[in-house]
Symmetry: C2
Subunit: 455 residues, 2 copies
């Protein structure tokens, strides 16, 4: 005779928190080679905990820190959910910023303070405990679960793409859930179903063999900084539309249904502007602010430099100038194609009398889950059951290459089910995770499996 889920979750609250504390006490700082043993200890802790609860669990060795791969297959025909997270943490420094030991979890004012409490040990562990509880309460729930919990997220997921390729079949899933971020303020239950891609370039302009004296040469030579400015100014028209030929060709228009959902999001444009001290919220003409932020491609100069930048004056004509230029991309733009188009346009805009080099720093694909699909549907249903309200559905202009990789390699819809809060101070001293939100996360994770099983 099993215990019903709600009672089980209730009975296990203290135990769940105790186990989270045990997990948080392991200083799994992936950036510090001195902690390599601790990182492995955290992986082993998860593997053993999952194996104890009926998972086939093992470490996936990499050239860096191992990942934990754990599977529980109920029925090959049942839907499969892959839960991704990471057990490594940022360094705790500066230590003097912490009120308590970063690796001795402490509860104050209803929150657990520890490095990794929110990013991401607390959130991924909520899934581990939620999934275990669900299967303890309802062992026959027709849903297969795979955990992929890596140990290198804080060092750039160095070996994750290789692992996804190598274990593609084992990782096959219908739905991917990632909990590694913050929900909207409130707290407001939030589901993020879309991320932008990216193409990041650097353009370098050279106009002469060396910097030249503006008195001796002014009026007779090209100027790298001026040429660069002209070139950058040509990347958008006066209305703010990106002028790169072909840039918008593959942009998918949002549906009326999605536009209607955007309008429902509690988003205050004035508060947005006030919070960051901008005088206006300019952008592509004819598009609402939220559509621009979430569903339209953008282009920004990320940095610019050349010539004399010190105090005062120096009468030099710069021989070199550079700018970093990047675009955030949306469905169905191909990052490599956009990088090609941007490079071609940068070269075309450059005056003949300067040399232009273009360096490609990064490209990354966008990700978008089907709003009507199983991932979004089940996550929303779980939130309704636990929170008694609908989640807010959001997209973001941010880019998470691993999410796009899940989408492209596994063909799975990916939903971001953020459990933390914006003020959790991730990567900073006094990182915390609200105790209630941890328990809520455990519950949401369990309900997610139930919802997926119901189909």
């Amino acid at each position: 005779m099993t215990t019903p889920l709600p009672r089980l979750l209730d009975e296990r609250r203290d135990a769940h928190l105790e186990q989270l504390f045990e997990f948080l006490r392991i200083p799994s700082v992936s950036t510090d080679p001195a902690h390599a043993g601790d990182v492995r200890r955290a992986a082993t802790f998860l593997r053993d905990d999952l194996a104890d609860h009926g998972f086939e669990a093992r470490l996936l060795e990499t050239d860096g820190h191992p990942a934990v791969l754990a599977k529980r297959t109920v029925d090959a025909d049942a839907p499969t959910v892959l839960i991704y997270g990471h057990y490594d943490v940022q360094p705790p420094e500066p230590l003097e910023g912490w009120d308590t030991d970063p690796f001795e979890p402490t509860v104050r004012d209803g929150a657990v303070y520890a490095r990794g409490a929110s990013d991401d040990k607390g959130q991924v562990f909520a899934h581990v405990k939620g999934v275990q509880a669900l299967f303890d309460a309802e062992p026959d729930t027709p849903v297969n679960v795979t955990f992929l919990i890596e140990g290198e997220e804080e060092v750039g997921s160095l070996h994750l793409a290789d692992a996804l390729e190598a274990h593609r079949d084992e990782l096959a899933a219908d739905v991917v859930v990632v909990s590694d971020g913050a929900m909207l303020a409130g707290p407001t239950p939030t589901l993020t179903y879309g991320l932008k891609g990216m193409a990041y370039l650097e353009v370098r302009v050279r106009s002469a063999a060396r910097d030249l004296h503006s008195g001796a040469y002014g009026g007779g030579v090209p100027n790298a900084a001026m040429a660069l400015a002209t070139l950058l100014a040509g990347l958008k028209d006066a209305d703010g539309r990106i002028t790169v030929p072909g840039f918008y060709d593959d942009v998918r228009e949002i549906s009326d249904a999605e536009r209607a959902r955007f309008a429902e999001v509690p988003f205050d444009a004035d508060a947005f502007a006030d919070g960051i001290g901008v005088k206006a919220t300019p952008g592509e003409p004819g598009r609402d602010l939220l559509e621009r932020l979430w569903a339209r491609p953008t282009l920004d100069v990320n940095g610019i430099g050349g010539g004399f930048q010190g105090d005062g004056s120096k009468t030099v004509i710069p021989a070199e100038a550079m700018a970093k230029v990047s675009s955030r991309l949306v469905p169905d733009q191909d990052p490599e194609r956009i990088a090609d188009l941007m490079e071609a346009h940068l070269r075309a805009l450059a005056p003949d009398d300067v040399e232009v080099d273009v360096i490609r720093h990064a490209t990354a694909p966008w990700a978008l889950a089907d709003l009507e699909g199983d991932a979004v549907g089940a996550a929303a249903e779980a939130i309704r059951r636990v929170d008694g309200r609908d989640p807010v559905f959001v997209r973001t202009g941010g880019t998470i290459p691993v999410v796009a990789a899940f989408q492209s390699l596994l063909g799975a819809d990916v939903v971001l089910l953020d459990m933390g809060l914006e003020d959790d101070r991730v990567h900073a001293p006094n990182e915390k995770f609200e105790v209630d939100l941890f328990h809520r996360g455990v519950h949401v994770s369990a309900e997610l499996l139930r919802a997926l099983a119901r189909g």
Copy 2:
């Protein structure tokens, strides 16, 4: 019975060189307070040497190093020439770069090696010796001579403008001669009769309270670097003409006669371009290269900076960006008016959604001597007598505020009679002055007085 000038100059060659050595041995490094006594010693050396030769000579005390003022008045109705130079020198560092002691003049391969040999002790001392010789040989020559030799040129002539104002009547002159530079390669006797002025501004653009994440905010906020690029690109039209309204209003066209002289200058545009590694020599349309370099106003971006300039990529939207922008000015542009126009145009070009600050770093007037006037005429005649050929008449895009100050405060035509060579390594180790060019300078200075006396 006096000795004729040529014989006198010949007899005194060794003595002139010996006296130059004595002058060069004084380490009159104006930038180094430890050398303040040496600086004063160099001033006293000049004062005494001029007083010994019939000049009313004294030190003009300032809040810094003194200047030497020496006058020899023959006839109040005779023309007066003011000879300006400086007796202070750059620091000799790096000392390991010198083959011999910078303050122990040494002759090698026909050149005197010492700090200040060319810049400017050697050149100003050639005038001192030439003027003395002329008056020893022809004491009644109807020309009045004033020497103004300052001790702060290498620290920016800090107190010179005040001294000019304070002693304006004593400094009154018809003609000003400055020898503190290099003639064209060859060596080619060179007279520089025009200098450009300057207006140097900095424009700072602010778009937000802080740098913003390009994922979270891209498409919804202004970008300081992009706004700056647009603004700078608007300073010139596609043909290279400066677009600042009113900028060209007061520009004086060069005469046909001057244009004809420009065409005679041995200037090789291909060699000019090759020497500095430029692919072309762009500029204001419809104007020859030399006219642009010497007689047309120019505008350059001297530096630009904002956002992320490190290696690799950072996805930031810069909240601030800045550029240094300067113009070189020609007759009859007023530097303050041009600075006003530039500032107004920069502000007008800025998008409404950013804040723009404009800082004025410097303005300086142009200078232009009358090609048909006494200064140019007498200097050219002196060169013809000594070198047996016509000088090349040049203007420069460079700016020397003190020259413009002589022009404006004394109402005198100023001519630059450069005695050094481009490879004299001024401000660097192994500075030198060709011995023959020193003696030539002495002779040219003496002939200059004769030519002025002839009228």
